[in-house]
Symmetry: C2
Subunit: 140 residues, 2 copies
DNA sequence: ATTCTTGCAAACCCTTTGCAAGCTA
DNA sequence: TAGCTTGCAAAGGGTTTGCAAGAAT
């Protein structure tokens, strides 16, 4: 962790902000704001739900946290190792996630879009499945 | 259109149901329930918003309509030509959409997931861009 | 006549905002 | 002290549900 990552941008250091960042750092799974909030409270860290949302937003804006939307509308957050472009392989049971690099996908999307005359292309790719742990435990 | 597609499952034929189906058939673009509702009203077809949602849900359940969620939470619907598995290349300006088949993507996701020990794999892949028409017109 | 469908209003659920009180620097 | 941060309560926004009135068969 280099010097500038501690404080990438302005913002005071607060108990709540640190708690949210710490809670995110603790897990490998994509987590909802509400879950994070519940977890903090269980651990005795009293932080308002609103505040959790606000810190998550800041972290996302800074590129320190990835965000994705579940089919039911809930937004999930996760602290990823790379800030570089990547995709996710997410366990739909426990949320555990593996970061995936897919050069061939990048090439494919670009090619397909160009073939249809589309420009300013971006894409959204996520893989869902059941991780080995959940399968072994017979979960869901 | 074969005989069974007219009435794939039970359900009465109503003015509203037909209107929703017709409105969907009219366009190539992914459309929100609210937009569809507004369009119907503009065309003099009075249909309640609730009813629009209900018919869309039925069509999705039947596999006659594809559904995707926008980043802001809105759900978009589109009548696709194939009911077979496919992806979409969506114009983020006008919504116009091209159906894409991606055998290599299917293989890639399967391979990546297997390598990480995941089973029951599914994926979600959408490409966004600006279509030639919107680019030419200088839209957004 | 019976049962499904409609649609208004209210409920839902997650997320965001208003604003006064609390902290950080 | 100055001004960012917090958090409660309330508002927002899309979608769903309760229920009585209205169609379709």
């Amino acid at each position: 962790m280099n010097a500038e990552s501690v404080h990438t941008s302005r913002g005071r250091s607060t108990r709540q902000g640190n708690a949210v960042a710490a809670a995110l750092a603790e897990t490998d799974a994509f987590t909802s704001a509400q879950d994070l909030h519940a977890r903090l409270r269980r651990n005795g860290e009293s932080v308002g739900l609103t505040t959790v949302y606000r810190h998550l937003q800041v972290l996302v804006d800074r590129g320190e946290v990835d965000m994705l939307r579940r089919t039911d509308g809930e937004t999930l957050y996760r602290r990823c190792a790379t800030s570089a472009h990547h995709h996710h392989l997410v366990c739909r049971v426990c949320g555990r996630t593996v970061e995936i690099a897919g050069p061939e996908i990048e090439a494919w999307t670009t090619r397909v879009a160009a073939a249809e005359g589309f420009s300013d292309v971006s894409h959204q790719v996520e893989i869902y499945g059941r991780c080995a742990g959940c399968a072994a435990a017979g979960r869901a």
